[in-house]
């Protein structure tokens, strides 16, 4: 069980990271706002991977404790945590040499939902409901 969810977490995390990097590039092209000093490609990838692995651990634990209701609670918590994490980029204080801090949340907030989206998309391929 844990092996499957860990594999799902890693793969969905990597895919979320790739999506985040692509999104950051598109955002830069559209807005000319470069935040790569703060949010580098490596950081996007590692943060997404961390989110995926954390999700795998959470999913396994909740599924064991709550059995069939575990997935419902997990999905609810994962979405809620993704929403709550929006506060981090909103409150984040950038280095003062970066010109347009008002564009920073617009770039980072969508990325906070990528791990959850990726998890929900790939989950049927890895873990089938009984």
């Amino acid at each position: 069980m844990f092996n499957r969810s860990l594999l799902l977490g890693i793969i969905s995390g990597v895919l979320a990271g790739i999506a985040g990097i692509i999104y950051a590039r598109i955002y830069y092209k559209i807005n000319e706002a470069d935040f790569s000093v703060v949010v580098s490609s490596i950081r996007i990838l590692s943060a997404s991977l961390f989110g995926g692995v954390l999700a795998a651990m959470g999913y396994t634990l909740l599924s064991r404790w709550l059995k069939t209701r575990g997935e419902i609670v997990f999905n609810f918590l994962f979405t809620l945590m993704s929403f709550a994490s929006m506060l981090l980029p909103i409150a984040y204080k950038l280095p003062l040499n970066l010109e347009t801090p008002d564009l920073f949340p617009g770039m980072v907030i969508p990325m906070h939902f990528f791990p959850a989206l990726s998890w929900y998309t790939l989950k049927p391929l890895f873990i089938r409901n009984r």
């Binding site: 204080k93 801090p101 920073f104």
Partner: protein, 177 residues
Amino acid sequence: MRRLSTPLLAIVLLAGSAFTFISADNWQIAEGYSITFSSDEASGIFKGFKGAIAFDEQHPATAKFDVTIDVASINTGNGLQNKHAKSDEWFDAAKYPQIHFASQKIVKTPFGYQVTGDLEMHGVKKPLSIPFTFKRTANGGLFAGVFTVNRADFRVGKPGGEVSDQIKLEVSVPVTK
């Protein structure tokens, strides 16, 4: 003829001295200046700074500073805080787009110099003394000063709010001729 030479010389010297001025050097504000403000709760920079600086270390009394800061250029590093700082709750950048300082008197002190002048901010004009140093550099010079401003004196923000009234300002202005 000799009798006339001494009074004539005196008249020439007197007339000449009337046209002798001790004028301060004019300096141009160069790139790389920094106007930072800080308190325990808020900090940031102003990016827009311009003005006229006339200064001669040997004759500080003849110096003159007339500088402005663009309020809208404030950057706290956070978009929401920037918006808040420019709003009518704080600087009201739409109504008072500039912070203006004009010197009245500059004197030499044991630690450097002190300029006294009028600071106009948020529609309030008050006298302010700023200690500063001036160092000659390869390309010109560098003015630097650290001082505090009581934001409540200028009705910036609510007095006694989350942000302390005393705001520390650090100014570093490289200049060229």
